[in-house]
Amino acid sequence: MTEQDALFDYCLRIGDSSLIIGHRLSEWCGHGPILEEDIAIINVSLDLVGQARSVLDYAGKIEGKGRSEDDLAYLRDVAFYRNHLICEQPNGDYGRTIVRQFLFDSFHYLFLNELVNSKDDFFSGYAEKSLKEVIYHMQHSTKWMLRMGDGTEESHRRVQEPLNDLWRFTGEFFAVNEVDKILISNGIAVDLNKIKPKWKQYVREIIEDATLTLPTNDWEQLGGKEGRHTEHLGFILAEMQFLPRAYPDATW
């Protein structure tokens, strides 16, 4: 794998993760449990899709084959997506969505916090910009974890169950492959081992404050970073990519 291939793959990992979880959140539009939450979750979605656009645009430039951000988002199939598996998991009820978001936001925040030191100028600028937005995302999902975990018996159950269920996808945040090895050696990529203990500590503290129980299941479901996805991604792409595939020249 050349450095250029690794950089392209790394862009896809970052961009696809934001795009897919952003798209998932957009499914809440008009369906939020209360008006303020409908607005909040769509704001988060908008930030993430916006962030994805700029990384995918950069990915196209790195690849050098003339593919635009839209080409990459709309004309790649499942096996070419590099997002974390947790991003594609279904919304379920609002409790499940919040747990997924909390696990992702806390990783995303710590990841960007390191990416600001990247020797790649695009990544450092991108991280500085995105970090400002992601702080708000993390605050939002953290507060809901606390409210629901330490709320009623019913709300507690509705976050504990998805927490147990989604936990197996969190190991992937820190899984290192060839791409990381190449890019860490030249100071471009984040050393995931460095943020793992910080993430574990933050998540443990919030879970305890929320009176929830930290899952003990250590199984790590991997694959997203290499294009091996759960069944859900195909359904997301079928919906998200329908229009540009059916009407290739459609414009606003």
């Binding site: 303020e36 704001n43 908008l46 910009k129 400002k132 937005e133 507060k143």
Partner: protein, 160 residues
């Protein structure tokens, strides 16, 4: 056309979501220059996903071309990241008059990390007896507040 005239035209371009605020007062125009009737402009987005940015770009191109500029090149840069500290004093005053509480100084203070609500003055009655209803409002850049004295809800242009 000279720099002064370009500046006057850019002053005419408003944020489509806050139509009293010019893009110069919003602080998204990083630099501009004109050479042989071609204008180069460097812009920075407020929020990554802000849909207003495309409208702003289109408005800039259209107003400059309508005034005789031959070509407009717009470059979008992410770094250094836009901050609400770049909104001018005039811009903040205009926000208040429009009914939006302007951002507090310094976007990187502790409360943006801990999420503690600050004391934001109501843009209508000036009372500081207000509360945050939601960190997310009608657009990416705003939070939703309520005044506990005059009971009016209002937007707060949140710090970034």
């Amino acid at each position: 056309m000279n720099d002064f005239q370009i500046r006057e035209l850019l002053e005419e371009v408003k944020d489509p979501e806050v139509p009293v605020l010019s893009i110069l007062d919003l602080g998204v125009v990083r630099s501009f220059s004109i050479k042989e009737n071609i204008v180069d402009i460097v812009l920075t987005p407020t929020y990554s996903g802000c849909p207003a940015m495309q409208v702003i770009e289109d408005d800039i191109v259209s107003i400059l071309k309508n005034n005789g500029v031959e070509k407009v090149n717009i470059e979008m840069v992410l770094a250094p990241a836009w901050t609400t500290d770049w909104i001018t004093e005039k811009g903040k005053q205009q926000l208040i008059e429009f009914g939006i509480a302007p951002p507090e100084k310094s976007s990187v203070d502790k409360s943006s990390i801990t999420g503690d609500a600050r004391f934001i003055a109501c843009p209508r009655c000036k009372s500081e007896n207000t509360e945050m209803l939601s960190q997310f409002g009608s657009t990416a850049c705003k939070a939703l507040y309520r005044c506990k004295d005059c009971l009016e809800p209002f937007d707060y242009f949140k710090c970034l």
